[in-house]
Amino acid sequence: MSAQDTKSLWADAFSRLVRDRWALISLVIVLVYAGIAVLATIGWGLPDWKTSQASEYLAPNGQFWLGTDLFGRDVFAKVIHGTKIAMSVGLVTSLIAIPIGVFIGAIAGYFGGWIDDIISWFITTFSSIPNIMLLISITLIMGKGLVSVYLALGITGWVGLARLIRGEVMKHKEREYVHAASAIGGGHFRKLFIHILPNVTHLVIINTSLQFQTAIKSEVILSYLGLGVQGEPSWGTMIDDARQELARGVWWQLAGATFAMFLVVLAFNILGDALRDSLDPKLKGK
């Protein structure tokens, strides 16, 4: 064994992650977005989006970097504040979807038999319903607003992860270390949560970063369709506004919102990829 292998898996993964330049840039971008979201939530230090500061539809200039909207509000400030909605939707839906996905997937994979049958039926059923239809019906039932968006995206987001974890746990439960745990009298709970789960954690992390950006995109689509956030700046509503404004040559609202979304989704994708590479135990030490 070489000296390198004495590093823990996590320390090794981190050092490999930061060596990848693009991953590092992406990580910084994500952190900046998160920082902005936190500032917007506590309402500190960010430009004001609510008041009309100039006449309508001013083109981008020195004072208003992305021009003004229909009511003379600063589009750049709206983009910035839109970050809050996007990031909070990403975070909250991940917090809902990931635990459900991990738990259900792990149970199905570990116990198999009729439990697996039932859970697999649910997974297949959920994934066969077109996502956007399900989202629309959930927001219609629960009324509109941020909470509905969280729940709607949260309870549809667990399916993919559950399927992945299920397969992985099935593989692991036949491994020698699990048999060893059985041999020394470990119960189901211990084997599943203390022994197997840490070995699939990397999948959870990678999935979180993908779940996060899917949620952001879905929020934008829902708001675009008028089913999402109401009364607060959201990139989706901005794009909806822009749809008609384009005819009079007002492109800045569309450009601002799309670019902000593009950047964060791209960053999450690159980060997800890099995480997958750096957390793969087979690539350890390379």
Binding site: F71, L140, L227, Q230, G231, D241, A247
Partner: protein, 587 residues
Amino acid sequence: MSMRFIGLVFAFMIAAVGCSREQNFDEKVLNLITPQKIKGFDPIYAADLYASNEIGKVYEGLLEFHYLKRPYELTPNLAESMPEVSADGLTYTFKVKKGVLFQDSKAFPNGKGRELKADDFIYSIRRMADPKLQSTGWWLLDGKIAGLNEWRDKNANAEKVNYDEAVEGLKKVDDYTFQFKLAKPFPQFLYALAMPFTFAVAKEVVEHHGQEFQNYPVGTGPFKLDYFDNSNRIVYHRNPTFREKLYPSEGEATDEAAGLLADAGKKLPLVDKVIVNIVVESQPQWLNFQKGSADLLGVPKDNFDQAIVAGKNLHPDMAKKGIRLSMVNSLDTTYVAFNHTDPLFKDNIKLRQAMSLAYDHVESNKLFYNNTATIAQSIIPPGISGHKKEYKSPYIGRNLEMAKKLLKEAGYPEGKGLPELQYETVGSTVSRQQGEFFAKNMADIGIKIRISTNTWPELVKKTNTKTAQMFGIAWGADYPDAENFFGLLYGPNESPGSNSSNYKNATFDKIFAQASIMQDGPERTALYEQLYEMAGNEVPWIYGMHRTSVTVYQGWVKNYKYIEFNHTQVQYLNADLEAKKELLKKF
């Protein structure tokens, strides 16, 4: 990747070929655009403007609004003449024109359309009242025709609705004569007979097609349906068996000079074919018009600057192509309604007045109507008797100081103690923006508004169940009589009736009940004006605008004149093919 790209190129090429389809100059064709899918052609469901416009091409009623005369005037259409009205105003005797044929259809023996008779009207009116069919126009006749409500109630639980049983108020005299008997005086009754709800259908056709009837319209009208795809397009051609109906030879004083009498005395319809494209989004509508492939279009809000300069003149680029502009006040009122079952608004007139004073009408007119609308002072638009020109509401016109003062007197100084109010609107971009604008205005006096967007059926459900706290909508006249507007504030009409704000005011109700059964005249106008002022001072709603209809049409379209009740319009339009050939070169 590259395969997909090639696929894309092909898709574009096909689209391009599809669009450049050669214009046909052999027959007169009108290319129109409608912004909404049409469910079907059954007159008893003609509740929205767009369905009415299609139904009005195929079906006809006893009366219609004169195409040229203003103020709007009823003229006989399928009726031989205007009806004889009994002295008590309760019995209306109609004679039906002879020799009017239904369009050919396989529902008739030998496929030949038969003659229209008095029975057809009696049958069509009964269909509106049929409890199983749930016509969306029933409100129009509810409680108005003697015995009709009883017949409806009796058949509500019957297995099969009995059309053979006589109804007192619908009486056949002979094949071409019949009588309506009203349960109580209803001077607006004749207007109902010009609305698509009451247009004549043939029993054989309804029975032949059953559930599918709405897809196989067979009327007596000027056009016959060729092709119907409810999400794409509708094609009609001239009805070959259409009766001798002529273009009017008199109109308003200015019509002669405007060339609107050039076709006077010619047989209608004037074009051979009508193509109606269903285009939901406003940008493609505009581009189609710009390309010359649509003949007529209401100008979308965001294209206003491309079409009009200085707020009233056609843009030179468009004038060069021979395009023409029509700007006419439409008979409508936009408003934000309070729900008067909500204790917050019910007895707190000062809160309502404060909110009305906080609303910025001038800015709203600029942002949403390009300064073409007229700020509403009360409920009735100009052009309908009952609108009082001199009246200026003390609560219209932004005055924040006054608004804050009233809000304090209402018990909510600077909005303190007032819960967040929910504003309901439909989910379109412009409606949402109007909601945001309203919320922004209210924030200036400390009132918090939450905007909730709905589909149209959701909004209707909320207002019908009285659960919408505030909502922003508009009302367009069904007929040019103030009764049609005042009814929206009449207590007994509360939800699910037309008074969706559930406003109740004993004095208002009393005057309305008195005025609504009076024949037109100075006495009634005086009462109407009294109601108009009351509706202004009491602020049951925050009034918005009376909008202006801005329409552009191509140089080859002849006889275009704005008509509020426009379901009969297309038969009067003409197309000048020579002019079209020339003008299209400039596109």
